[in-house]
Subunit: 225 residues, 2 copies
DNA sequence: TTCAGTGTTAAATAATTTTTAAGAATTTCT
DNA sequence: AGAAATTCTTAAAAATTATTTAACACTGAA
């Protein structure tokens, strides 16, 4: 289990780190929210332990920020503030659990395990994204609709994956350009339009129920119905 | 969110049930572990709330049993036993969270939501602005009134969003021109009037209660009543 | 090197939205 | 009440946005 601890109190951080390492976890420590953010964005952690009270970026803001960046790693908030309102603020910001200091290490460990279990035990079948009768097989890198196998190119696959992960939500061309093409400024290109067209041919053309919808002036949306 | 409560204390059970139903959850209650087991096995719940101390089958045994039956529904244990050892036993048995009585309802709600969120990959929470029976769905980029779906163009959507975010406040044409059209000087146009008219046709026309009000000489206001 | 598949651009066409403008209706002012 | 100002409604013109096609460039494998 790979864990990131974001905690500005060195003593507590090293105590927790040691404990976790004894349980054969891989542990990284960030001593402020700023660094924590960078590390969380660039490494695939199983769980993140977050102190609320920190310089630069506090815990609440950090979770919110991570969530807005689509980082869904489970987060456990660690804090001395035990009021229900504080807890609610934590959950509101996007945390998955909330533990009040002082705590016993064993409880922290148990809670981390619980968070991890839920995220990882989705098993091998977690690698298939579905919408209606459309499946995206992340292992085979292939789509299926109504059981029929559909081969996709890399860009097509990337685009469809992005659409599927944002099913039911309108995604703008700018969003797509950034997340799928990694274009961060306006190049005046129409690649996205063209690729949506490719996808439609492969995925919607032969089926009565269309899944790819264009929302004029706003973007595209993948949705059943 | 569909929830099963397994709790032998009728008072507590009905208190929690009522609270959850107010948050528009579907709630079933089982008054002992035996029945709880049967219900959990036959219905697809989103979360299960489990009291530890119950006749026939206690909470620990019930989770263990469910897990062995491959029921992976998130379980929150509810109990008066707050020692770390008790908590560990709960997690050990397969629970996902552990809340000690007495608790505040809001915390229970937050924890249930957190458990549910992780299991249903609906991504970021539905982002919906509401006024009276009018909803503006920021994900789907669609309005709903009285449950009826209303499609809007980009400009219509922008205007309605601005009105809704300023509900109950009169916004001048100049405000609207600046924030929605990005026009910063007087062009003598009447687009805004035209668009308010468009919106009225889509949003107010078919309903007795009008939401868009014109305040002559000042601007427009969105308000119920 | 050639070839097939992939990614990108550009331009023509189609569809829809946005804006303009002008007459009708309403409200305000004298 | 009558005139003036403001707002509403409508339809058609203008502008924008989307789709499709085809051509071109790039890549990696044979």
């Amino acid at each position: 289990m790979k864990i990131l601890i974001v905690e500005d109190e060195p003593k507590l951080a090293s105590f927790v780190k040691k404990g976790l390492e004894e349980q054969s976890c891989e542990v990284d420590v960030a001593y402020d929210g700023q660094i924590g953010r960078t590390m969380a964005l660039s490494n695939p952690y199983d769980v993140i332990v977050l102190d609320v009270n920190m310089p630069k970026i506090n815990g609440f803001d950090l979770v919110e920020n991570l969530r807005s960046e689509k980082i869904t790693t489970p987060v456990l908030m660690l804090t001395a503030m035990g009021s229900v309102d504080d807890k609610l603020a934590g959950f509101e910001a996007g945390a998955d659990d909330y533990l009040v200091k002082p705590f016993e290490f064993r409880e922290l460990m148990a809670r981390l395990r619980a968070l991890h279990k839920r995220n990882s035990d989705t098993g091998p079948q977690a690698n298939i994204l579905k919408v209606a009768d459309l499946e995206l097989d992340m292992n085979e890198k292939v789509a299926r609709r109504d059981g029929r196998r559909i081969e996709l190119t890399a860009k097509e696959f990337g685009l469809l994956e992005y659409l599927i992960r944002n099913r039911g939500r309108v995604v703008s061309r700018v969003d797509i350009a950034e997340k799928v093409w990694d274009i961060h400024f306006d190049t005046g290109t129409n690649v996205i339009d063209v690729y949506v067209n490719f996808l439609r041919k492969k995925i919607d053309k032969d089926f009565p129920q269309k899944l790819i919808h264009t929302v004029i002036g706003m973007g595209y949306m993948l949705k059943e119905e």
